[in-house]
Symmetry: C2
Subunit: 315 residues, 2 copies
Amino acid sequence: MKLATKALNGNRYALARIISLVEDDGANARSALANLYPHTGQAHIVGVTGAPGTGKSTLVNQLAKFLRTQDITVGVVAVDPSSPFTGGALLGDRVRMRDLAGDPGVFIRSMASRGSLGGLARATSDVVKVLDAVGFAVVLIETVGAGQAEVEIARTAHTTIVIEAPGMGDEVQALKAGLMEIADVLVVNKADRPGAANTARALEMVIDRNSTRGEESEDAWIPSILQTIALDGAGVPAMWEMVAAHREYLRSTGLWTEKERARIETEMLNILQNELLDQLLARVGEEQMETWIGRIAARDVDVYTAVRAILEGEK
Amino acid sequence: MKLATKALNGNRYALARIISLVEDDGANARSALANLYPHTGQAHIVGVTGAPGTGKSTLVNQLAKFLRTQDITVGVVAVDPSSPFTGGALLGDRVRMRDLAGDPGVFIRSMASRGSLGGLARATSDVVKVLDAVGFAVVLIETVGAGQAEVEIARTAHTTIVIEAPGMGDEVQALKAGLMEIADVLVVNKADRPGAANTARALEMVIDRNSTRGEESEDAWIPSILQTIALDGAGVPAMWEMVAAHREYLRSTGLWTEKERARIETEMLNILQNELLDQLLARVGEEQMETWIGRIAARDVDVYTAVRAILEGEK
């Protein structure tokens, strides 16, 4: 039996194997993905992002636990663009889900960067598709950092939760990281710490400013601000309620489909771009590329002129 | 007279104009860049990065001021991948350099994201080239976030300063963000705050672990940990001394050239990739692309199969 069929039938080993193939980006993953793809489109994909130190991992853990009490199946993809060495393993992230182990209604995978950022985004998207296809009702994508790359990965979700925490510096961190505008649900975690109310107020002000600039239509979604304490799970059910409400909003307005088309377009262009470059490099050859790099390094030619020459030479 | 010639002759208006052209990514910038490029290669390019709230902007400001007291000219490129709305302007970053205004030995430019991340990285690299060509001895690239994208932008520098601050959460932030391995100089800013010594010790431990894994050659550069107080400039001269020492290290080991070739290669591949995609889209046409997106959205075909078909159709 094919790996994909096994995974669709609930075989846990086959699922893990396909995900490993996807991570290795092998051609073997392609046929499994093609077989699984018709089964996708059901999962609610939820991105969770925020600056380091806001308690994202713990909150994701609590949300997964809460979903299980509701009998909702959940996949978690923790995306960590840092290296194996500096990655979550060092900080104990990898063991944080211990209390969910053994539950077949949960699947957790940490994704670390292997080379390019684009590769990580692609692999993440494919792993989400696999989890969607085999029937996880909710897929959480947790991004460890708070940079643009993480924003772009979170953006592939239907709903994005942005997490903030009080007392992490002088300003609202999410603002600096440009996370505000992708937030569908805003959470001030560590709400038992001093300054939580101030942080919530600061976020409120930004949302108000955003929504009074006249750019929003009447039925626009305005993110609510919720407070949570991830350590004991306080506020997590209310947070989920808001996430579920956002799903309904997307469904009823047709934005669900619109978002999906945008995601597909981005993904298709990224894959096309990589394939085109690979094909070109195979034709031009390493030696000639090295020659061009040498000429640019010698200031004999600038990079744009070199690129034009390479592409002209192709014709 | 050509804009590039004017800029090379010290015309400030021409310089600002070229940088605007580069930011707009117009074809007009290409000829100016080609004319300027032979004059590049002299500047010491220094990346400054770290999590939000560490005081990067203030430290960059102090470093620029210190360099001016040493009669060293300095260009500053502040890269902010967040939107205009959530960007530095709101937080007062844009005015922070006020006390350097009017000094022709300083040039400061904030770069905000306009669309893609790749576009920002490319524009940043080109602005650095322009500043290098017209003779700024040091070019500081400050990245506002701490994600992988910022890391990649900082990586284009000869020397990377990673900034940490005490009391920003439970762990060393730079660790989580994967910044440690790109650090040539590690700075604990806000050294007058409680916990600074702890933060420095934590960093020290990581460096020790790194350098005793046997992967380092005998003459490897091991980053030192420095403490600064950006608000009053304490520690800034020592920080600069370390940055200058790193430059000497790169020069004497030949790594300067090696780094440059790696940077050129990455840049050339990125530009090639974009050009190839643009050419393909021009040939395939929007209508056909929309059809493919529709088929993928309908789960009629998966994205990899679609990409293969598009590329086959080209032959």
